[in-house]
Symmetry: C2
Subunit: 363 residues, 2 copies
């Protein structure tokens, strides 16, 4: 048993509960979670905006911690290693996508870290919890240069932006527009700048202009500044849209050069509206991208360590998750809330039934 | 003066009129038009469905004929040559897209063959006419293996399908789905088969199954056959959507493999509805493509000649254009109506005021 923050039903507030993690199998790794980021998709899922949500739900797929035990067959990590877990905890390992290191496209399909069902038929519970047991293939190493609290947001927001930047070959001189400067957006700016891109930011207002510049962007635009946007018609090679809804897709497509691509990373439940002309004129593309493979996640962490890229985080205690969700929904977080899971263990330990189980796990 | 089929106002029927073509400049080519195809976009334009239509309008951008005169500086064609003109009649020639041979993306922008305004400020009139004067750069050679009536549809429908097949690197074994078996679709099937693709056709019904097979497709699917479509989820590398409206984009995206692309070629005035998930899951793209450059148009003609690819045409007389439009709108044409412009010259010559001008031109 390990303490967790759990949502019992759609829209209900978080509760501190005790959950079971499976017994350690030969290829399993037990991790004491130190920090877990709050991703915008966590809000979508606890509110069942994507359908099919499973309750009780323990969100969290930006997990950073330390290995406390490993199964007999584990060779890739050892007790005491600083490790991370992202959005996936299992995949078939045999399909062409798994073999290509793109587990996110596993045909089985892959098992999400939470709000999913494992191949053993058991529901998966995420990182808003003190411990987790994860198959070794899905555990990545956190480089020494990155603190655990900083590593957490990289496990989803980092790979979600790094992967499309690589897929669409961002490099020296690429003209990139990042739409939305939140958890994803601010990492997209930092990573793309390190890749050599000329990065612009499109935000609702200019309130984050100074931050944009600090992160490396050369230009910050407000989405209602039609003059400035008009001057940039046809300018960008690539646009990463990190905003979850309400964007004018045709307006963004109009900012793309010939053969340019608008990649949507957010997943609002509402359909996007696209004018065929906005695609046809300029042979433009509207694409989607979702997280990335495990090998790419490790590459991303190593890239961030090498280039000194860190997310901007606000560390909160477990008791403040409900408030943090409200702030995420209002777009107030600068730029990622990260839960300090040590605070959940303290509080849960006050509850007598849980104390014994915890003592065993923490030993 | 030369006879033409002209629409005086939005939605009005065709009239036989006399129009002026400009005096032959140094780089101009005068062509006696033998045949001109009826493209679905002609219907969109005479009905002003895309906005900004200019009347009177003489449609037609699938032009095949014979050179009757050339300007002093013309070297690329000579009197008597069998030539074609597609959707463009001019471009700046200096921007990066023109220099790359992609005049359709000219930044000036390019001048459409009709329903446009030339760089001289004069409206452009298309190929439903006996003669046209076109700048030499926009005149392509029709290979000897292709009859003029067969060449006409290639100048728009051919290049509109050939260009995206090349852009998205269709080759041996590519799994291609062609949506809609009309003027564009039937050429897409023939060209893609010659490129080595495994081609399937998605149509409203199975009425065109035998034709699909005759054109080279290995599979014909009805769009309401959800069982068959379900079995093909994730199957295709590329989908060319040649249908002008009413397609379920999310359904099509679901048929794409990881990294697959759905290319929309039609341009309905209504926006497309796209679920972000349909793009994100499988990192799929929705793209557009519009015609192709002049060099690619010549390559397409040569490719068709080499591989024996010909459109299926119905040759009609100038007097029957109104009826042909109604048949195009109802999807009844198998597979392209082509106007025999000799029939317009005969009829127009009966009108006394026009006879003199014609005699000069035909001399």
């Amino acid at each position: 048993m390990t303490p967790a923050l759990s949502v019992p039903a759609v829209g209900a507030p978080f509760e501190r509960t005790m959950i079971e993690r499976r017994d350690l199998g030969g290829h399993d790794v037990m991790i004491e979670i130190h920090f877990c980021g709050i991703c915008h998709s966590d809000l979508h899922q606890v509110n069942d905006e994507w359908g099919g949500a499973l309750f009780p739900m323990v969100p969290g797929h930006e997990i950073a911690g330390v290995v406390t035990a490993v199964g007999d067959s584990v060779r890739s990590v050892a007790v005491g290693d600083r490790v991370g877990v992202g959005c996936l905890v299992d995949s078939c390992g045999e399909c062409r996508h798994c073999l290509a290191g793109e587990e996110q496209h596993c045909l089985a399909p892959a098992v999400p870290t939470y709000n999913g069902v494992g191949y053993d038929g058991e529901p998966t519970y995420g990182g808003y919890s003190r411990h987790i047991v994860v198959r070794d293939r899905f555990v990545v190493h956190i480089p020494a240069a990155i603190e655990l609290a900083d590593a957490a947001p990289l496990l989803c927001a980092g790979i979600t932006t790094f992967a499309p930047l690589r897929r669409w070959q961002v490099g020296e001189g690429t003209r990139l527009l990042v739409v939305g400067l939140g958890g994803l957006g601010h990492l997209a700016v930092k990573i793309a700048c390190a890749m050599g891109a000329e990065v612009s930011v499109l935000s609702r207002t200019l309130a984050k202009r100074a931050d944009s510049v600090r992160f490396g962007a050369s230009r910050c635009l407000a989405s209602d500044d039609s003059d400035a946007l008009g001057q940039l018609a046809g300018h960008f090679d690539l646009i990463l849209n990190t905003v979850s809804g309400g964007t004018d897709i045709d307006q963004l497509l109009g900012l793309l050069a010939v053969d340019g691509t608008l990649v949507t990373l957010g997943a609002p439940p509402q359909p996007l509206q696209v004018s065929p002309f906005a695609l046809i004129v300029g042979r433009r593309s509207l694409a989607g991208s979702v997280i990335g493979g495990i090998a790419a996640t490790q590459q991303m962490l190593d890239f961030c360590a090498e280039h000194g890229i860190l997310p901007e985080t606000e560390v909160i205690s477990a008791a403040d998750v409900g408030e943090a969700y409200a702030r995420v929904a209002r777009g107030e977080v600068r730029y990622r809330s990260v839960i300090d899971l040590a605070t959940i263990a303290d509080q849960a330990a006050l509850a007598a039934p849980a104390a014994e189980g915890l003592a065993v796990l923490d030993g």
